[in-house]
């Protein structure tokens, strides 16, 4: 099946089995290995991507569902102000240890920060509650998202 979608703001067309898991399509067929698989059952969030601006779990999606959609993966973050701000905050706040959860965390953070004003820590924890991390204990990840929220808010105010 030919699936046509927008990937990280560029048009994409791929001939693929319609029921191929999106996480496999991204990692193996498109060689975009930034999106990770940690469980395959939607419990860990490592495979989180944005579809039409909303977070989705790519391990529980099939290729046919991408047709006509606007998809963002971690590889597309640096090109946007919000994405780049989030990445810088994760790096500078010490939120990265083994790093395997980080792409998914960043996607969840992006969706959260796009919802409105800079969120507080409780709200951040709720927003990240679908993304498991085994290394950090979450504290510095929350620090990073909190800071990214402030940075983005300040950036918006400046404009």
């Amino acid at each position: 099946m030919k699936v046509r979608f927008e990937l990280n703001e560029a048009p994409m067309e791929i001939d693929v089995a319609p029921d191929r898991r999106v996480v496999d399509l991204l990692r193996e067929d498109l060689r975009l290995t930034g999106t990770k698989e940690g469980c395959g059952t939607g419990e860990c969030g490592a495979c989180t991507i944005l579809v039409n601006g909303q977070t989705r779990l790519s391990c529980l999606m099939v290729a046919a569902q991408l047709d006509g959609a606007r998809v963002t993966t971690v590889e597309g973050l640096a090109a946007t102000t919000a994405g780049a701000t989030i990445q810088r905050a994760f790096v500078e706040e010490g939120a990265v240890q083994c790093g395997f959860c980080i792409p998914g965390m960043e996607m969840a953070a992006l969706a959260l920060l796009r919802q409105g004003d800079a969120p507080g820590r409780e709200c951040i924890r709720e927003g990240l509650s679908g993304n498991l991390c085994r290394c950090t204990g979450y504290t510095k990840i929350v620090d990073a998202v909190e800071r990214a929220g402030r940075d983005l808010h300040a950036g918006r105010e400046e404009q």
């Binding site: 099946m1 089995a17 319609p18 029921d19 191929r20 898991r21 395959g40 059952t41 939607g42 419990e43 969030g45 989180t48 909303q54 977070t55 989705r56 779990l57 391990c59 529980l60 999606m61 099939v62 290729a63 046919a64 569902q65 047709d67 969840a108 969706a111 959260l112 709720e126 927003g127 509650s129 679908g130 993304n131």
Partner: protein
């Protein structure tokens, strides 16, 4: 490899379903694709995606009821002003399902058709007198939810039928409404016991009407209609609370499984109910 059919309209979806009787209807796929992991590759049934079927999307207000399209994801339900106006209990429950991404994917129709004893949307739907609207090539029908869900993983859905909308009668809200879910951790947890309650008091502070439903303590959602009747006119004091606790403890029929024992579920089911009734006095 199996085909994924993506109809844009209901009549097309029904036709495709009739032509592919073994096809699995798929909306958010959060339960379906997990179950598929255990399936033997090469023998997977055709998938019928309902995500683009117009008639199954969205939330509309009709004269007598609120209609929620079966393929509406929970995040949309949580955010919708109509839901907050007419069925806030459902929004409360939806907020506890999975995590943020799961809520963007999982749908109300999917949760109902999976018919898990632990389905979080179900206790509120029972209390809201939800009716399940079904369509087939032969026509349409609607069933009360209690008649639609028959047992764990079993519904009254017949071959060739699709759930189209969930209808919630527009009725005055109860002043006190609460949904509580307990699990083995705070987030992303399959419910160990859940509780939904709606109550109103008369001008003397006695219970005028109370409705309660429990999840994960029986093969389907548990109601205790005799208790509900008994409580009409009861004052909200310690004796009433104790009576409720005892009745619930005896009335629910949980099993022991990987997540919890039957004994624990009984205790918690009773405690959640007594917590609700006690709070009515506050």
């Amino acid at each position: 490899m199996s085909a994924v059919l993506t109809p844009a309209r209901l009549d097309e979806a029904l036709r495709l379903l009739a032509e592919n009787p073994a096809a699995l209807a798929m909306a958010g796929a959060t339960d379906l694709l997990v179950r598929r992991r255990g399936a033997i590759p090469g023998h997977e049934p055709v998938l019928l995606s309902l995500a683009h079927v117009a008639e199954l999307q969205g939330i509309t207000e009709e004269a007598a009821f609120l209609a929620i399209g079966a393929a509406t994801p929970f995040s949309r339900i949580i955010a919708d002003p109509l839901v907050h106006r007419y069925a806030p209990l459902l929004a409360q429950a939806a907020q506890t399902i999975g995590g943020p991404a799961i809520r963007n994917m999982a749908t109300l129709g999917g949760n109902i058709c999976t018919a898990s004893p632990a389905g979080d949307s179900l206790p509120p739907l029972y209390l809201l007198d939800a009716r399940i609207e079904l369509a087939s090539p032969a026509g349409g029908r609607a069933l009360p939810i209690a008649a639609f869900i028959l047992g764990p993983g079993r519904t009254a859905l017949e071959q060739g039928e699709l759930v189209t909308r969930i209808l919630l009668p527009k009725a005055p809200r109860f002043p006190r409404e609460r949904f509580i879910k307990t699990g083995r951790r705070k987030a992303l947890a399959i419910s160990v016991t859940s509780f939904a309650g709606r109550a109103r008091l008369d001008q003397d502070g006695r219970i005028a009407e109370i409705r309660m439903a429990w999840g994960s303590v029986g093969p389907t959602v548990v109601r205790l209609p005799a208790l509900e009747t008994e409580l009409v006119g009861a004052p909200v004091h310690a004796a009433t609370v104790e009576r409720v606790g005892l009745a619930v403890h005896q009335g629910v029929a949980p099993i022991s499984d990987l997540r919890a024992s039957a004994g624990y579920r009984r205790l918690v089911a009773a405690n959640l109910a007594t917590q609700f009734v006690e709070a009515l006095g506050g």
